[in-house]
Amino acid sequence: MEKITVTLNGKKVKAEKGMTILEIAEQQGIRLPTLCHSEVLEPTAACRMCVVEVEGARALVPACVNQAGDGMKIKTHSDKVVRARRVFLELLWSAHPNDCTVCEKSGACDLQEYSYEYGVDVSKYQDKYQYTVDGSNPYYVRDYNKCILCGKCIRACDEIQGNNVLDFANRGFDAMVSTPFKLPLEESNCVFCGNCVALCPTGALMEKERYGKGREWEFERTHTTCPYCGCGCTFDLCVKDNKIVKADSTDFKNNPVNKTALCVKGRFGLGFVHSEDRLDYPLMLKVPREERTYTLKDYKKVSWKKALDYVAERLSQIKSEHGPGALGGFSSARTTNEENYVFQKFVRAVLGTNNVDHCARLCHSSTVAGLAKAFGSGAMTNSIGELKDCDCILVTGSNTTATHPIISLEIKKAVRNNNCKLIVVEPRNIDLCAISTLALHQRPGTDVAWLNGMMNVIIAEGLQNQEFIDERCEGYEELKKTVAAYTPEKVEEITGIPADSLREAARIYATSEKSSLIYSMGITQHTSGTDNVLSTANLAMLCGQIGRPSTGVNPLRGQNNVQGACDLGALPNVYSGYQPVTNPDIQKKFEEAWGVPLDPNIGLTVTLMIEAASEGKLKGLYIMGENPMVTDPDLNHAEEALKKLDFLVVQDIFPTETAVLADVILPGVSFAEKTGTFTNTERRVQLVRQAIEPEGQRKQDYAIICEVAKRMGYKMRYSSQEAIMREIAALTPSYGGITYKRIAETGGLAWPCPDKKHPGTPYLHKDKFARGKGLFSAVDYRDPAEMTDDEYPVILTTGRILEHYHSGSMSRRSRPLDEHVPSGWVEISPKLAAELGVADGEMVNVASRRGAITTKARVTDKVINNIVFIPFHFAEAAANRLTNGALDPVARIPEYKVCAVKISKNGG
């Protein structure tokens, strides 16, 4: 890098060529005032506050957009400069309401701060805006009387979110930030990410929930990790009087995944922590089992001692009467790595069984099974930050903008800034289709067919990466034989994807320098889930699109810590770090560490435990932080099974639909009340830091488990979650080098991180696959378990929406999210709606062979032909009353994404 020398306020300083004057000043510790500038946005020099005097220049120069030249003489605070800044501030003050005494932004307002610094109290100019304050949306207030027209919100919406909801309208004094035709935000394409709110330098945009809850300087700030999806965004929790006032992402340098960006849930959806519904003390059933109403009325408040004694007694009793195999545990992808480790240790060492699993069974067990077979490691191969440099991104089975909003921003960035070709293969017309090069709509459940079809084209046209195949893979000949039958024309018959579009997609993916494949539940939640995953791996290996930056096979993990729950062994076949329970050496290692004999047999999965319960083989179940009564497929069946258990204990933060089936309910703590680590979808282990003290009698989740263990005769004591991490690192090679101190220093480490010097691994399989050679698996297309027929002629697919999360136990208890989207619906294509005579907004009955629900029809071209979509968050109209419990033969994942239903008018 070429060096230059400039004179800054009389002092000679060295800098790199290309740096702006602002950057050089900052490097020298000189802070220049800025109102429109942010390092996360492109500079525009709108506010002129950063002007400096440059010797020889005609006028004052804005420092944010001007690169320094060699020998430049710069004065940052000369009289002339200070005078100019004062005039700018006076002009801004002239229109700004003088209401700092009551303004929520006070203390964090740039205009206020600079006015203080430059001694501006009143303005010579007087002309006030007369805008009506807009509080019409549930999330934030827009008070354009306080707007200084810096344009940061407009650029945030453009450059970060890519939605362009806002721009300047009108001109002169009437200029203002506006949506087209001044429509309310709810009628625009605003997704309420609130990135504009985070960047607003004044009080023009403010979070609604924070009003009246305290001033900026009163907040204690704790940097922590978001409890919603697997993106792993970080932010500061601002707390006053043990209450969360807001999530603040402005300290972007500490947020490696998301910078200042957050989504609507992370920014506005944390109210659940203070919900009145939170469980505050242990509860025990007070009525005889046959008189239960399955509501909280059945329970009485008891002491921790009584509750824990009872839990230990009942579990011990079942163990001695029916053997360890009659017990099982559901761990939780919401809780920390440490808690998952302790939970699986409890099930294995204390209950004495490998019957431990968690909801990853229902989302990515096919990924873990499939990618482990193909590559030797079942996780996202590359990191989120690499996406922006991709030349081609193939997204399939992932409505990324809704389910992984921050990852979708990286996809949008790649398309916008890197000319990346986006191929979307989705049964629905999802938002990403709008910016895609190609949008292909397959019939649900036909993924192996189109993936084989793409490989057929690639091999037929000689586009495969033969060198990569020969050197790094095995099983190619078999694959070649199998995919030969999947000509684009045949694939069109099966999938409905036009043959030529498939050819084009294949060519783009194969010939782009760096192609990344992203998938999610649309690939995994099928009876062919493992085959689907294997096919994605086949495609990536065939083209050599793996083992390099910005390539790879990237399953997006759903929950905040579903990656970690898998990593830490909350699975029936492996200990932490995917060490098989069937390997005698591994078993010995853990027996020595834990001091008890361990079961060498693979345990039951979540889905099989439900089956075992329904058959009466499983008698006792410990559920920590899961809500299968909304999230399991074929709910009627799951409900029956859970009710049949002799003993159910649920540890949760809310009285969920599952908790009210329990004999004992134990109150744990939310993410804000605990310290620990979450591992996000890109395998990055990040810190969760306690921001508030638990209220009521809530206990740390790991401590509850340890107490039960102790009462069952096994000593399990940890001084903190950090102590648990030390044990994890000692027993888990891939987490070997992970310590809290290192995470804090680096902003998160991606495993494998085998030792304390290892920097972590952003992308996997660099020179060789984790299993040695990459394994091609020739797989054939199979029909989904349930096909449409005359009685059930419509295909139902299910999924998530942006504003809610999973069973809704958190998001639906956060006021703004619940107010915005209070109830569910079924999306019906205009064509199908016309055939059924159903109007938009009308209530309809949706029925499958397993159950029926009533919900509102939403007629939209987001769905196509006879495919309908229901978001599964809403217990009162639970999509999973309808879904099919049929399982993938390998991973035991249920087929959530395809079942046959019929729709009729409600009452008609």
Partner: protein
């Protein structure tokens, strides 16, 4: 409407630089910029809808409402200003019952203000349908407008 829009759009390139000529042509075609054309224009020029709205509201020549049958422009240029353009405007507004930039409910009159129409010697001035009316006083201004209303009605009959 979409067909007429497509035809107009077909004559222009697909870059942001084409936005203003497109807006002008669309306004010529429809007499104003119908809200329904915004999506099509935005997509064609490859700019966000918010930008189209921003540009269209920046320039006074663009309007989102159809013009009234009579188009009144009150001049607020320097010469007219010192000769009492403010009072003229106020009277015209009161007489028509609308603010500048609006159209009367019956669609008879639209009112705009302009910076200067180059008839400073006649200040204060307003134009109605391109015809210049000078040396106005509040009363003569309203009388002029009445004439147009009547004239139109008579013509219509």
């Amino acid at each position: 409407m979409q067909e007429r829009l497509e035809k107009v759009l077909g004559e222009y390139g697909r870059s942001p630089a084409d936005l203003i000529p497109i807006l002008q042509h669309v306004q010529d075609e429809f007499g104003y910029l119908p809200q329904e054309t915004m999506d099509g224009i935005a997509a064609h020029a490859g700019v966000p809808k918010s930008k189209v709205y921003g540009v269209a509201t920046f320039y006074t020549m663009f309007r989102f409402e159809p013009l009234g049958r009579n188009h009144v422009c009150v001049c607020r240029g320097t010469a007219c200003h010192v000769r009492g353009a403010d009072q003229i405007l106020e009277h015209v507004q009161r007489h028509l019952g609308i603010e500048e930039g609006e159209t009367t409910e019956d669609g008879e009159f639209s009112l705009e203000t302009v910076a200067c129409i180059g008839c400073c010697a006649l200040a204060p001035v307003m134009t109605v349908n391109q015809e210049v009316h000078g040396r106005l006083k509040p009363k003569t201004a309203t009388r002029t407008l009445k004439k147009y209303a009547t004239a139109d009605k008579e013509e219509g009959q």
